[in-house]
Structures are given as C-alpha cells and as structure tokens.
Amino acid sequence: MLTSRHNVKQLVILSGKGGTGKTSISASLMHLSASSKHRAVFVDADVDAANLALVCQAQPISTHSYWGSHIAEIDAQKCNRSGICYEVCRYDAILLPHSSKDTYHINPLLCDGCAACVYQCPESAIRMIKQKDGDWFHSKTPYGNLFHAELFPAAENTGKLVTTVKQNAKLFAEDQKIPLMIIDGPPGIGCPAISASAGADLALLVAEPGVSGIHDLKRVMHTLGHFNVPVIICINKADLDAITAGEIHALAKSNNDQMVVEIPFDESIPKAMVLGLPITEFDPARITSQRIREIWAQIQDFLFGERNGSEKI
C-alpha cells in the first residue's frame, strides 16, 4: 500500500559567531515544544562541540558508529622509497624517511583522504583505511527524542556526520508523524553550517550585539539568503551594547521588516546550564523565559500559520 510521506518542517538555529546562546535557546524550545501542540524531534548539529544533551537530561537509547573519512597507510614492506607519494600529496601529509633504511610515512592528521598517493604508488604500497570518526546517538529526553553525535577530536567530515544525524532524525519524525525538527546548529558558515541548514524551512538566528556579533550575523544571513532559507532574528544579551543592538534592528528592518525579539543578558542562563535544565523550565517567570516563549510563538506562527492558544504572550 502506498503511504504519502509525512511532511516534517525543519527549524535550524544558527548564529555565525560562537557562544551567542544557540544551545541554551534550543533547549528552551525543546521544553516549550513538549507542552505545545507542535511536538518536535531535536538534532544537535554542532557535532564537534555538542552540548545540547547536557541541558536536556538526555538518556541514550542507541549508539551508532560513524565511519566517515579515509586515511592513507603505507606498507613498509612494499615501499621502495620512490618518493612519488611525497610529490603528489598536496596536503604535506607525507613524511620523509628518517634514515636510509626508513620508508615514507603518513601524517594522519594532515591526510585529506584523497588517495592520490594510492593511485600513483608504483609498488601499490599504499592503501586507504576507513576511519571511525565518531558516534551518533538516539536519546530520550523529557521533551522528546534527541539525535546527536560526538565527533572524535581532530576528525574530519563534520558536514557528513551532520547529514547522517539529520537523516535519522527525519526518518524518525516521519515514522512517528512528528511535525517539526528543531536543529541546534554549529557556529560558522562552512560545511557543517550548510549541512545543518539544508532543507530548512526557517532559521532562527541568535545574534549578540558587538562588532563581532553583527559582522558574523551578516555572514550567516547572506549564507541563508543564498540557500533561500527565511530567517527570524533574536538578539541575546541585547543590553550589552546599544549601538550594535540598534544596528541589528536596522538590519532586520531592511530584511522584510522583521520583528526582533530581545533577550537581556541573564546570569541565570549559566545557572540553569549547571543544573542541566532549559532556562524556561528553571525559571519560567524570568523575562528571558518570556522572551523565548515569544520566539516560540513566532516560530509556530511562521511554520504552521497559527499560534498555540495556550501560549498567550
């Protein structure tokens, strides 16, 4: 029997600059979605600094190995020191022999996995070894299911791991008929950020005032513009610098006259983090929690064209 695929909306949370509060706000959105009519599946797409599981009481229910990259290995028995590998490698990953009896070696940290040396070695002394680059997890939280990962330190292929985690979250959401995926993104605008926002219906940009915050916000806005992802903006730590906060408002105004939600600098955010709780659960009455509820209402409004009646703001 044919079944129509369930449509899962995707919200991605990005910032450009690191440390603006993406994960603290993501955890709060997890908490708020759990008690609203738009349940969600959650993804931590910041796989080399994955922190969302620390603030949502995640309990892994399954762990999966992630095999991503390849690294070249030289068989010392077969190597006749032609040096061709050294000549063709563009990543400075081939180490010269230490002595007249030594062979060439690979520096695994610098090997890009391109295999150019494998195909050029006249003795076929080099082969590619597939690498386990990390693990990904399916976890239960009090707010719903979380898909997250731990990339091994210094590993490659972050974008591919982000895609793997997102695919598994999406299949789960489709299967369980959950209407929304909330994706806590990485900083920056390169491959993992692009993978995190692929297929997104909406991006929440967590900006912070200051020269760095606005510079990096513009870069992530241009990136999302390039991929035609609509954005809404919140300014975290908004009272830090009035001038650049004003610039962010002006930027939002020029971008479809958007409304911007401001969250003040709030020392209770690290306190909630220490307790492993979303701020909206730790202290629902705080202004920070109220503002995040406003953001959640905006998100639902945008994605589902309605506001949850129980969440009056």
């Binding site: 690191g18 080399d48 563009r90 295999a115 330190p153 900083p187 390169g190």
Partner: protein, 290 residues
Amino acid sequence: MIKIAVASGKGGTGKTMVATSLATALAPTFEINFIDCDVEAPNGHLFLNPQITQTQPAVTLIPEINQDECIACGKCVNVCMFNALAMLQDEVLVFPQLCHGCGSCKLVCPVNAITEKPNPIGVISQGLVNSKINFFMGELTISEPMPTPIIRQTKKLASDRTGITILDSPPGASCSVVATIHDADYVILVTEPTPFGLHDLKQMIGVLSETGSPAGVIINRDGIGDNSVETFLENQPYPILMKIPYQSEIAHGLAAGKVLVDFMPEYQQNFSDLFTQIMDNLDIKGDETC
C-alpha cells in the same frame, strides 16, 4: 618563528580577545604576526583595525575536462574520493564545491584531457596594524563549504616571517582547528567555567593528544557557572595561565571593538607575564626570537 595558537572548542569564549590582546601587548617588544584562521567568521580585524595592503584569492584547483580529448574512460570519476566528478552519458561533469583540489583525477587521466584551474573560495588579506603587527586574514566566501584550504594558504603566506606568530583559531575541534594548530609550538585554550566550556575543553584536549603541542588554559568569565573546569584541570598537564573575571566593563569594551589591553591597561602586564610563562614552558628565551 614561534607559533602560539589560541583555540577553545566552544565558540564565543574569548579567543579573539586573547589573541588580539597578546599581539597588542607584545608588539612594542617583538615582531608580531597575527593570523586570523577563523575564516568562516574572522573578527580579529574588527579589533586591530589593520591597514590592508594586499588581497589575493584563496583557491582550490579544480579539474577542467577537455571534452574533445576525453575518451570517457571514467578513471577520473573512479579515483575521486569526494564524488566531485560524475559521468553523465559520455561526458564527465565537475562539481566544484565537492572538489578538494587533490589533483588525483588529472594524474590518472590516460589522455591528458584534464587541466586544472583555480577556483576561488575565499580571500586572503595582508596588512599592518599601527605599522607594527603584520596582519593576515583568511575569509571564506559566502556559500563555499571548505575552510581548510584557506587556512593552509593564509598560514603559508606568513610562513617566511620571523618573530612571534599568533594564530586565532576557529571554534570546534575538527579539521579546521587541526589545520590551524597542528604545527603550533604552544596552544592557549580559552574556556569558560560552565558545563559547555568544560565539555568542549575536553574535546580540545583530545585534539592536543593528537598534535602533541604543549598547552595551557585561560578561564574567561571567571565567576559565572561552576568550578568543574578547575576541578578537572587539577589532574591535567595543562596549567591555568590566567583567569579573567566576568565584568560588564569588559563585555561593553569588546562589544565596541576595543582590544582588552587598550581599554583596561592593567591587563598589559598580565599578557606580558603570560608570554613569559609560555616561553618558560617552551624553554626558549623570548629575546632569541627577535
């Protein structure tokens, strides 16, 4: 040349604050090269205000197929580890954003139908700060996915300089961080005393166990969060080099684009001492470097 990298794991802990302050504090005494390797979100220039004297594209070399020569044997498609080439009927297609520029396809083509052309993916800028600090910055072009070739090329451009090189690293603990710090003589890890700061500091210590560089830790925004970072470091070979308390005055100054040691001159001495501490650790006398 002595290379000191400033890294963190977690974003927004204060890497650029530390890197720009160290560069500014040492500039009167040493020849300083500042390299902004956070090519996805480079911010060093916003604080140092360099006079940019030269820019050049950062490139990957991508294959160009001469369809008249191509015999559609498919060897290039088979050797590409990144799926950057595909055969469509009898024609080889190139996907520039997937290409790592390794040159393997060109090397295996039996009829020399492949040439390489530079594909710009970013910009490298060079300049001077107050005619004192040599400034280098890589910047990834919007929508391009690959930061590491830009980091490599920016570092290469500065590789013949003497003195002290300060590398401002991107956040995270994956390939772009490795490209920045793998050849550093010393790594300063900037963290904050929170569960997130601790988790990502551990990731960076994992990276250091691969690269083998000596390192020390700066705890920024000391006073927020908890003591878990300090407790963890008690059993680690990484000394706490400095603690910078959370102060709204610092946050405001940085938001306005000022260098910490400029708007709070008392930190000038702290950063000079930090450098001495690093040199002692490396067992190199500072004056041998200039």
